[in-house]
Amino acid sequence: MKNLFMISILFNLMLAALLISALVYQFTKEEDPVAKISQFMPQKLAAKRIERILKQSPDTVSLVMLGNSITANGGNWNKRLGRIDIRNSGQGGYTTGQMLWLLDSCVIKAKPEYCFIMAGINDLSLGIPVERVCANYHIIIDTLLANGIRPVVQSTLYQTGNPAGNKNVGYLNDLLEAYCNEKNILFIDLNRSMSDHNGLIQELTTDGTHLSELGYEVWSDKLKWIISKLSI
């Protein structure tokens, strides 16, 4: 009995010493500010967009439409294409660089079979060089392929009555088509059926950039045909 008491007292003393040193350490330690800096995650910038896209998506996804406002304003692509497994991952205003921020959360994680991409017009209107846009496309395409997802690149649409801008769009599309051929992936030239000498056909657009309902119908018809060919 006495022995146990002595042991307990000794243990108490030991614990008290440890406790005091821990407290002293906590209040006196020099904190290294650098150690507290976490890695910068650009994906976090797109958190609200990712939340919205996922909320509006069906649970099972075999096809993701990745793009900017032209894709986003298509609204319910399932209704347009008569399916139930399409996710609209379009975000208004987004450039290809910003799409990289949501690629993992909105495309890769869903493990779709295919990802249809249309982007680049915002990049060009922000003054981002065509080569940079193309480099972003390469990252998107390579990342998708590495994750077993088949990319389908749709040509960046021309704008109505903007010959200077359309020259850049044309150059971008040439570079994209060449890369798609090199990687053996499908490149769809939408401009062939949706533009004339003046750029995007007037009846297909609301403001020279965005699509009218007729514009979406023409695009959807093309997509339906491709989906049936690919038997998605």
């Binding site: 009995m1 821990a22 976490s38 995650m41 797109a46 910003q98 209107s125 060089p129």
Partner: protein, 225 residues
């Protein structure tokens, strides 16, 4: 007598052991940085009522509670986390100007640089925003683009951008506030002010707020009315 002593000593054993585990656990677990996100996003843009000051900018502006920081109730946060200067300008007419602030603090440019927008283009986008604000009777105040802690390639461009912005403000007779003189050290953001090398922690925001309060001492639109 001996028995009560023994029991109380044993109880003390357990108590101190528990305390040690709790304190030790606190010492050795890392807390993730708390990032406060703005509730708002662009798909739904309510026009705020009776505001004096507009805070327009990217994630750095968006992640702060400016009314609390500045001790006021007439500030509105127009920050959008992922937007470039040009993208912010798209929302100017329908959102910022319609809210009729007297003063608009602007900050941005890091997204532009990361996405590859040329510096001259960023300055031109700023110029458009400034003209538009002035045209609508809103006084713009440009805040320098913040340096980062650990992205030297971004910092190189930020320094050049700030030179362009300073010249632009001088030409247009607009106030330019250099945040970097306080928040940075040796041409990079001070490490104790940042969560991830780019974004600010509470300490960083407090310093930023002090700079703005300083500016408002002489330029508060509320006092001019």
């Amino acid at each position: 007598m001996n028995k009560t002593l023994l029991y109380s000593s044993l109880a003390l054993n357990l108590l101190m052991l528990a305390a040690l585990i709790i304190i030790g656990g606190k010492l050795f677990t890392k807390k993730p940085p708390a990032i406060k996100e703005s509730q708002r996003w662009t798909e739904d843009i309510p026009i705020p009522d009776s505001i004096t000051i507009a805070m327009l900018g990217n994630s750095l502006t968006a992640y702060a509670d400016w009314n609390a920081l500045l001790g006021r109730d007439d500030v509105h946060n127009f920050g959008i986390a992922d937007f470039t200067v040009k993208q912010l300008s798209w929302l100017l007419a329908d959102w910022v100007i319609k809210s009729k602030p007297a003063l608009c603090f602007i900050q941005g440019g890091q997204e532009d640089i990361m996405l590859g927008v040329p510096l001259e283009r960023i300055a031109a986008d700023y110029s458009m925003i400034l003209d538009s604000l002035q045209h609508n009777g809103i006084e713009p105040v440009v805040q320098s683009t913040l340096l980062s802690w650990d992205h030297p390639e971004v910092n190189n461009q930020v320094v050049k951008l700030n030179q362009l912005l300073k010249a632009l403000c001088f030409k247009k007779n607009i106030s330019f506030i250099n945040l970097n003189t306080v928040l940075s050290d040796n041409s990079r953001l001070q490490p104790q002010l940042t969560t991830d090398g780019i974004h600010l922690n509470n300490k960083g925001y407090e310093l930023w707020a002090i700079i703005i309060k300083d500016y408002l001492l002489l330029n508060d639109p509320r006092n001019k009315r």
